[in-house]
C-alpha cells in the first residue's frame, strides 16, 4: 500500500513537472534571488556579500532541473575547472567503465557511467560503503533510490534529481544488442 502511494507520488511529481512550462528566458531571472529563497534571512547583515546563483549559473550549459546547469558538460567543456585536491598527496583516478542494469520492468535499461562520476568523485565515496565493487552485488531497487539510498544519496540532493528518469534509464531495450553488466569498451554515453 505504502509502495503504491509512493509510486503515485512519483507519477504526480512527473506530471506536475511536465505540466510546468520550460522557462522562456535563460537569464538570471530563472534563479530565485537569495533574499526571497525562504532559507536566507533577508535581514542578515552579510546577505549582499553573497553571490546570487543566477549570476554564476546563467553562464553555464543550461538545464531545466536541479541547479539548471548541465554539470557534466560544464566540466568537460572547461566552462568550470574545479580543483581536484587541496592535499598534495591525493590520488586522482578516473575510471572509464559503463555498467548497464536490466531489472527495470517495462522501463528502459539504466546506464551507469563510471567516467562522469569519477571526474567528480573519489572511488571511496561509493566503494565499499554505498556500492560493492561487483556488478549486481549491492542489490538495490528504484524504491531504495527514491528513499535516498544507492544512487539516491546524491541524485535528489545535489546531483540531477530523480524526476529525470531518462537520464538514468537511457538504454532502449528494443535496440540494445550487447550484454548487461560491465561494458567492454567504455564511454558508451557522452
Amino acid at each position: 500500500m505504502n509502495a503504491l502511494l509512493k509510486w503515485l507520488a512519483v507519477i504526480w511529481a512527473v506530471l506536475l513537472w511536465s505540466a510546468a512550462p520550460l522557462p522562456a528566458v535563460a537569464g538570471p531571472e530563472k534563479w530565485t534571488p537569495l533574499e526571497k529563497d525562504g532559507l536566507h534571512d533577508p535581514q542578515g547583515p552579510a546577505i549582499h556579500e553573497l553571490q546570487q546563483p543566477g549570476e554564476a549559473l546563467s553562464q553555464m550549459p543550461p538545464d531545466s532541473v536541479g541547479n539548471q546547469v548541465r554539470w557534466v558538460e560544464a566540466l568537460r567543456k572547461g566552462v568550470i575547472n574545479p580543483r581536484t585536491n587541496i592535499l598534495p598527496e591525493t590520488k586522482i583516478q578516473v575510471l572509464d567503465q559503463d555498467l548497464i542494469y536490466g531489472n527495470t520492468g517495462d522501463n528502459w535499461f539504466v546506464l551507469f557511467p563510471h567516467k562522469a562520476h569519477t571526474e567528480w568523485l573519489d572511488c571511496a565515496n561509493c566503494h565499499e560503503g554505498v556500492f560493492k565493487s561487483k556488478f549486481g552485488a549491492t542489490g538495490f531497487k528504484m524504491m531504495d533510490i527514491l528513499a535516498g539510498k544507492a544512487c539516491g544519496q546524491c541524485h535528489g540532493a545535489v546531483s540531477f534529481p530523480l524526476t529525470e528518469c531518462r537520464r538514468c534509464h537511457s538504454i532502449d531495450p528494443g535496440t540494445f544488442k550487447g550484454k548487461l553488466g560491465p561494458q567492454q569498451a567504455a564511454g558508451g554515453k557522452p
Binding site: A9, P21, D37, G44, P45, G66, G148, G156, T163
Partner: protein
C-alpha cells in the same frame, strides 16, 4: 512551479491527487520558496547558541572544488547535519576551516557570511520535488 500556466481541469486533478496523497500518506508539504538545489542548512546548535544557522551552498563550491575534495579528503559525510561541526573544529582547521582560514578562502571572522539562514530553519538539504513528497527532512546529527 508555474502559477497559472496549467489548465484548470488539469490543475484541479493535480490538486486533488496532491490532497489525496497528503491525507493518505501523512506527508506534509511545507510551502517553501525555491531555494537553490543542494543548499544545506546546518542547525544542530546555532539556534540554541543564538546565531543564524549557516547555509552551505553546493552550487557555489562545486564550481571551485570537485566533490571528492570535501567528501573524501576532508572527510565530510554525505549527511546534512551529520558531521558534528562546531566553531572550535573550524578554527582548528577542520571541516569548513580547512579552507576558510584566510588562505584558500576568507577566514572565520566573517561570521554572517556563513551564518546567513533564517533563525529557526531546521537542518536540511534543499532537494527535489520527489524527495519533498516522499522523503523526510534530513535528520539532525545522531538521529539516524
Amino acid at each position: 512551479m508555474g502559477k497559472s500556466h496549467i489548465h484548470k481541469p488539469k490543475r484541479n486533478f493535480i490538486l486533488w491527487l496532491m490532497a489525496l496523497l497528503i491525507l493518505a500518506s501523512g506527508v506534509e508539504i511545507v510551502p517553501q520558496a525555491r531555494a537553490e538545489y543542494g543548499d544545506v542548512v546546518i542547525n544542530n546548535q546555532s539556534d540554541k547558541a543564538g546565531m543564524r544557522p549557516p547555509i552551505f551552498p553546493h552550487w557555489f563550491h562545486r564550481i571551485r572544488f570537485r566533490c571528492k575534495v570535501c567528501h573524501a579528503d576532508l572527510g565530510f559525510k554525505f549527511q546534512a547535519g551529520g558531521n558534528q561541526i562546531n566553531m572550535l573544529k573550524i578554527i582548528d582547521g577542520e571541516f569548513c576551516g580547512a579552507c576558510h582560514n584566510g588562505e584558500i578562502a576568507w577566514s572565520v571572522e566573517n561570521c554572517d557570511v556563513c551564518h546567513s539562514g533564517k533563525p529557526g530553519t531546521p537542518t536540511q538539504v534543499h532537494g527535489s520535488t520527489v524527495q519533498k513528497l516522499i522523503g523526510k527532512p534530513a535528520p539532525a546529527a545522531g538521529q539516524k
